[in-house]
Symmetry: C2
Subunit: 434 residues, 2 copies
């Protein structure tokens, strides 16, 4: 069979890795795919010193690729929403299949893109958009297709996990590790997307849609970053048998879907609590399979390229498939998506870690306990430290049972109003993941 | 579209789970697959009290299903090599697609079965044959298709892992835990397949073929069980920073493929070293993606059914595909398999843990070190215990660097011939998995 012709838009970190993997493993890939995969043209404005392009034609106009009648598959690795969206929609309009690593584009404009692709009978593949080289979309969409998925929980931002790992292992502060991560190139100059959880929320939005068969709803995701975490919290969590991870959690409940990214205490003997450094991992709980976990590099040139190229091979295999028989973009047939709503965070149920600073005098604990119990909040454990802080304050750490977020918000307001409690208290959600 | 008709052969643990998952999640599955999946007929000699079969026709003759013109997909859950093989080959001859959970059948007769299936243009799907509900075959065959796979290492027998976990956590003996596992139903009355590594070798044989594109060669797998492990070894390993796991390892080298199942010391901070109880996990190292890990239940009714039903859905999707464009049975096109040989275990390179019992007198260590160094074996660390055993013997534990197995065998023979060393020494392979 003739080789399939691919056009690569963007030759940055991931684009360069994609080109290199396609070249280096060309024989191995053809032995698997049954036909060659050839890079017919590349669009880039900057040369990538990691790539030896040889005779591969290069242009600085992405639309040349999109309009090139020789190209079967457009690989979009530009990033961002603007140009990338135009490229993808134009490629679809021209009847080309699309492979992309662009989580923001899919999370925000995916519904529109998939609907255009289905109308044209082309595939849009996006394995690389979530957790880099881990084939989590394929696992969820195909490997676990027999299951009703109960929940998905993932460490899906490597920068955030690197920071939390260093804070725990070396007692370093958030600011200190962030500065190093920026120097090492793990974190962007503007780290907002990583440390505020926006990047993770993009990925979680995609996972949730595939898990539960709901349209993409990035705007409904609750997002809380890791910027307020202190080494004190990391250490208290440790003493209580927990690790703090920046987790994306999507859970199906009777009333709707929880969709939330926030720092989370996880029992330290859970496998996912032991995923360290820049590595990613996603847990999926299905009603038949039980708990499963998928671990690997969530970013980087060749790990991400691994997923991009796997998608290219998948698309090559679907070229002759009856379009109605393909794996649907969001795992469920487009006409069979569910209208299960995404719950506002007020409606979410989780357990909590609370750190408050109380006057070291009798009766304070009774007042705290009574505020919680009036709102139906049960205390699982209390840790009081004898270390006196300034102004006679001592830290008090509480773990609660599961409670509705709105009730916890009420309780926190009441606690902070107590004369015996100083300053705003720290609240971190707890997940058992069992 | 009309529902696809499935025939289930065997209604035991996995067959019952498969029936129940197909019934319970029928709506969810149809929303994903785009058409219904209907159990048209079941072959079983014994009713399964966990199943409410309703109006589903039942026969005690499996060949009735195989010859039933209404049935599109035969699900073989009988087990064993004899009847199962006849059923699968007859189903293929009749132009039916086959889904099986039978690792022994695939590992031993897979080459013949796949070749018959390819000649007939039908699919044989076998995700459930390795690691139960973990979609590891799909990950390796499709999700990592861009990679040259360097190695695969897995905890792929839950019974063995349960025994090793209990030995470590509770200091129990092998015999004691095995008896409990049999009582709990984790281990068969005849536990040979589990504890001698035969079951793991079946699964590893399948993984290695998919990883490296070589024909199935179960007869060339090196297999060593866990029956000789003592709690002393488990504890010494722990003191050295390692866990002992019963690991299947397949590694590509320049000269051939290593294919081996044996107890293995793994650094205790590796994620796979922390996979406990009956759970399974498989690590895959690809040249682009780096290390990845897949974790979940490796056995049991519904976890295995999860993989069986996912395969049924996959087959439903390939019904209209051009057969030459499907995912090949062993990941690589049948005419592009490699003739890379499986290496004899003598040629394998690993590091070693050695436990020997030496007379507590000067000069013994020098003799031991000299025997090793004469054969080019470097010592990484030595642990000598002051605990005197009977007859003035003290245990001496050595960790070596990587060495060819044949050289280690020579060294062990020379060590055992020393007057200062008592009895046969204990040798366990060490893998860093980094």
């Amino acid at each position: 069979m003739k080789p399939v012709k691919v056009g690569i838009c963007g030759l940055g970190t991931v684009g360069g890795g994609t080109f290199n993997v396609l070249q280096r493993n060309a024989t191995e890939i053809a032995r698997r795919a049954g036909r060659g995969i050839e890079v017919a043209q590349i669009a880039t404005r900057h040369p990538n010193p990691a790539c030896n392009l040889g005779m591969t034609p290069v242009t600085d106009d992405v639309f040349e690729l999109v309009n090139n009648p020789e190209i079967d598959i457009i690989v979009e690795l530009i990033g961002g929403y603007t140009l990338a969206k135009d490229v993808v929609l134009k490629a679809i309009e021209n009847g080309k299949h699309v492979v992309t690593a662009n989580k923001a584009l899919i999370a925000v404009h995916g519904n529109e893109i998939f609907s255009a692709a289905s109308a044209k009978g082309v595939m849009v593949a996006f394995e690389a958009s979530v957790a880099g080289g881990i084939p989590i979309i394929k696992a969820l969409r195909e490997g676990l297709a027999a299951n009703q998925i109960d929940w998905v929980a993932g460490i899906i931002n490597g920068t955030g996990n690197f920071i939390l790992t260093e804070m725990r292992d070396k007692g370093r502060t958030f600011e200190d590790v962030l500065a190093e991560a920026q120097a090492l190139g793990y974190a962007e100059a503007d780290p907002t997307f990583d440390v505020e959880g926006i990047d993770a929320a993009h990925k979680l939005t995609i996972l949730a849609s595939i898990a539960f068969g709901i349209p993409l709803q990035f705007d409904k995701a609750y997002t809380e970053g890791i910027t307020k975490l202190t080494t004190a919290d990391v250490n208290y969590a440790e003493a209580l048998g927990y690790r703090i991870k920046h987790l994306g959690v999507a859970r199906r409940t009777e009333n709707g879907v929880e969709l939330r990214v926030h720092p989370t205490l996880i029992p330290s003997d859970r496998l996912i609590a032991n995923v360290n450094g820049v590595m990613n991992a996603v847990m999926v709980q299905g009603d038949a399979v039980g708990p499963t976990l998928y671990y690997g590099a969530g970013a980087g040139s060749e790990p991400t390229a691994s997923a991009v190229v796997a998608d290219v091979i998948d698309v090559v295999r679907t070229l002759t498939t009856d379009p109605t028989n393909r794996v649907p973009h969001l795992a469920f047939q487009a006409d069979a998506l569910s209208d299960l709503p995404v719950l506002p965070v007020d409606e979410v149920n989780t357990a909590y870690y609370l750190r408050l600073h109380a006057q070291d005098r009798p009766g304070v604990l009774a007042k705290v306990a009574s505020i919680l119990s009036e709102r139906g909040i049960n205390i699982e454990s209390i840790m009081q430290k004898d270390v006196e802080e300034q102004d006679g304050l001592v830290p008090m750490i509480l773990l609660t049972h599961r409670v509705r977020e709105q009730d916890m918000n009420d309780a926190i307001a009441a606690l902070e109003a107590l004369d015996d409690i100083a300053g705003p208290l720290m609240r971190i959600r707890v997940e058992q993941l069992d």
